[in-house]
């Protein structure tokens, strides 16, 4: 850095130049560390891809790329909602319940093997609305009754699951009869599966919202310091409820898509998604304390996890070792990615 320290002026009062010198050095370091993490994550991803490609030439093929992106799509969509919620410093555990409710509603309102009426577009609108209602309930109970989001959304998980169970009844497993629906998600369009295009579009929209809208910036502000946000007259409650509604709607969408992918559904359709998505959000670098992170990072996190599992299967790692090995690789990758950030904790606010 060039010398920003001013010569003695002889004048007691001035100074901005030399005073901000500390500020400048700090700025430079933080810009580096700010992008350091995603870059390191990307690096970890590249290393994984290189290793897996070397182990099995079929890994680095278009088919497998399509496969990985197809698998990553639903966690990405859920991850967008989860990231927004985590950014405001809350958490949404209701994902699987909402997915179950919307998935079952969707299949029963579409042409399916149980019969019943095909409601056309309503088959999409109603499940999404269900997600929105459950999300709004999350947000309102959380903000109005001041119950921790962890607890509210845990309850909503079971409520969603309960709704799904009631809707499902005890009849036979309902399957979609419309092939266009069941094939849509994995259908290749411009080289990549439809469902991935949808997920990517949502990520981009969410990234733009976070960057360019008052809502998005307010979400970051609330996550950074809720008290200051409130003291600034921000409609904190409104923003929080909105965030939960978005998360609910995205979970609802994921329920629909999962059902389309499976060609049918039961109330267990959402199982496993929550604990696939939350780690991906955190691995991406979104802080559970809120205010820091973003959907692009979550995107990276999901891709990293998906590539890891896909790569281990293709590398022929025994299922007995896969879980332990993928855990170990993750720890190494994250430690490597977070290395540039390790000093940050000491920077006082």
């Amino acid at each position: 850095m060039t010398n920003t320290l001013a010569k003695p002026t002889g004048n007691v009062s001035v100074d901005t130049s030399e005073l901000s010198s500390a500020g400048l050095t700090r700025t430079r370091r933080n810009i580096l560390s700010g992008i350091g993490e995603p870059v390191a994550l990307l690096g970890a991803l590249v290393v994984l891809i290189a290793i897996f490609s070397a182990l099995n030439p079929r890994f680095a093929t278009i088919t497998n790329l399509q496969n990985v992106l197809n698998q990553a799509s639903l966690p990405i969509i859920i991850g967008v909602g989860a990231t927004l919620v985590i950014l405001i410093g809350s958490i949404d555990l209701s994902v699987e319940g909402v997915m179950a409710a919307s998935g079952v509603a969707f299949v029963l309102m579409s042409a399916n093997t149980r019969g019943g009426q095909d409601m056309g577009i309503w088959a999409f609108i109603v499940p999404l609305a269900l997600g929105i209602v459950l999300g709004a309930a999350n947000g309102l109970i959380y903000t109005l009754l001041k119950v921790p989001s962890f607890i509210v959304t845990l309850g909503m998980w079971f409520i969603g699951f309960g709704i799904a169970t009631i809707l499902y009844g005890t009849d036979a497993y309902p399957e979609l009869t419309n092939e266009t629906l069941t094939q849509w998600a994995a259908k290749i369009e411009l080289g990549l599966p439809n469902v991935f295009w949808l997920a990517a579009a949502l990520v981009i929209v969410a990234a733009l919202v976070l960057r360019y809208t008052r809502f998005g910036r307010a979400a970051l502000a609330i996550g950074n310091n809720e008290d200051i946000a409130r003291a600034n007259g921000m409609p904190v409650r409104k923003h929080k409820v909105t965030t939960f509604i978005i998360a609910g709607a995205l979970s609802g969408l994921a329920g629909i898509l999962a059902t389309m992918q499976m060609g049918g559904t039961s109330n267990h359709i959402g199982e496993g998604y929550l604990f696939l998505t939350l780690p991906a959000v955190v691995i991406g670098g979104t802080a559970l304390s809120g205010g820091k992170g973003g959907v692009l990072r979550t995107f990276l996190g999901v891709i990293l996890l998906t590539v890891l599992n896909n790569g281990l299967v293709l590398a022929g790692v025994s299922p007995n070792f896969q879980s332990a090995l993928s855990g170990a690789i993750l720890v190494v990758a994250i430690v490597a990615a977070a290395w540039s950030q390790r000093g940050r904790l000491r920077i006082a606010k």
Binding site: Y168, M262, G272, G316, P319
Partner: protein, 383 residues
């Protein structure tokens, strides 16, 4: 197994047995009229308890159907226990019913093997009678517990695995690669089916190669993902897909369908769920499904409840029954597209089948007569 190891195990088993019988003795003294010397219970004092893992899986839904049909026939009320996949829920709900006053005749499809002892002891303490289906710890022997644990019953997993593997191997011309998607890795049901698969390949089809085995936790979506990864890995080397149940088969077929390979690959599985029947009837994917097994949830629950019921009203004395009637394996039938229709007739008349059960008794009703005694042992080479 070394001699010492065998000895060690023998003493351990003996110890547990002693502990269990001691417990049984204690139960005798505290429960009026319990165990073998009991007075037969009156029909109107009975309640049927039908405990299932969840209510949405087709197999468990059929369990309930069987309980209800038998209850209707015999004029005994039926209480359904939905465990919601949780051992906790299962045990607490059963205990609540046991506390209700009536004598319970219980069928349990256990969530986990380890639930069985707790349930058995609870039923015994309440003077009820129980039959456990599918899962129990190997060292929990009905004969050692006493008459209140009437029987443990299941279908042979090894037979299921052999059955489907034979169908699959024949369909692909007895050579080429196949992949297998078992259920939860430590599940006995899954492990025995996989053992059957491996045994059939080793003894009958040396040219069929098992390319990869990916446990998919009975989860259609995990099966879908694993199938996608394996397609990426092996491509058209895969001629056949073996799954441990029809749920996972749905996921796997979706994956192959998306890859445009459904016509070229053959599938076998266990369960013959409604979607599978539909698919077979429609000849989906050029008759993609080539082998299934036939055994039914309503048959299992009705057999289980009926056995316990007979013990409750004193028509059978469990202590005098031979081993295979206390620890039983019932027949499993192999289904192919050709003989599918023969089996579908049962599903259309559950009540009629229950009539036959009452007429012929729990061990001799077609198509699921008693075939062998347990426990089912997996040979180490097929683990």
């Amino acid at each position: 197994m070394s001699l010492r190891k065998t000895f060690a195990r023998a003493t351990r088993v003996a110890g547990i047995a002693a502990a269990v019988s001691l417990f049984a003795l204690a139960g005798c003294t505290s429960t009026a009229g319990g165990a073998s010397s009991s007075q037969p219970l009156k029909k109107e004092d009975l309640v049927f308890v039908c405990s299932v893992i969840n209510t949405t899986n087709p197999y468990f839904a059929a369990n309930i159907e069987g309980c209800q049909s038998l209850g209707k026939k015999l004029g005994i009320p039926v209480e359904v226990v939905d465990s919601n996949g949780s051992s906790q829920t299962e045990i607490s709900k059963i205990q609540a019913i046991l506390a209700g006053g009536k004598k319970a005749v219980v069928f349990v499809n256990t969530v986990a093997s380890s639930d069985a002892p707790t349930i058995v002891n609870a039923v015994k303490a309440a003077g009820g009678f129980v039959t456990i289906w599918w899962n129990k710890p190997d060292n929990l022997d009905p004969a050692e517990v006493g008459n209140n644990f009437v029987a443990f019953q299941k279908h042979s997993g090894i037979d299921s695995g052999k059955c489907t593997t034979e169908a699959l191997s024949k369909a692909i011309g007895e050579k080429g690669g196949i992949i297998a998607l078992p259920g939860v890795q430590d599940s006995t049901t899954s492990a025995t089916r996989v053992a059957g698969l491996k045994e059939a390949l080793a003894t009958e089809f040396p040219n069929v190669e098992l390319l990869d085995v990916r446990p998919s936790n009975w989860d259609p979506q995990l099966a879908y993902k694993n199938a996608k990864d394996l397609i990426a890995k092996y491509g058209d080397q895969i001629k056949g897909v073996w799954t441990a149940d029809d749920g996972m088969q749905i996921g796997a077929m979706q994956a192959f369908s998306e890859a445009g390979l459904l016509d070229k690959v053959k599938f076998v599985s266990d369960g013959l769920y409604p979607p599978t029947i539909e698919s077979m009837k429609k000849h989906e994917g050029n008759d993609a499904i080539v082998g299934e097994t036939f055994h039914r949830g309503y048959m299992a629950s009705a057999i289980g409840l009926y056995t316990a019921y007979l013990a409750a009203i004193g028509e059978i004395d469990p202590s005098t029954l031979p081993h295979e009637k206390r620890d039983s394996m019932f027949k499993i039938s192999c289904v192919t597209p050709d003989n599918l229709d023969e089996f579908l007739k049962w599903d259309n008349d559950v009540d009629g089948w229950v009539d036959q059960l009452i007429e012929k008794g729990p061990w001799d009703t077609e198509p699921v007569p008693l075939v062998a005694g347990g426990p089912e042992v997996i040979k180490p080479e097929y683990k």
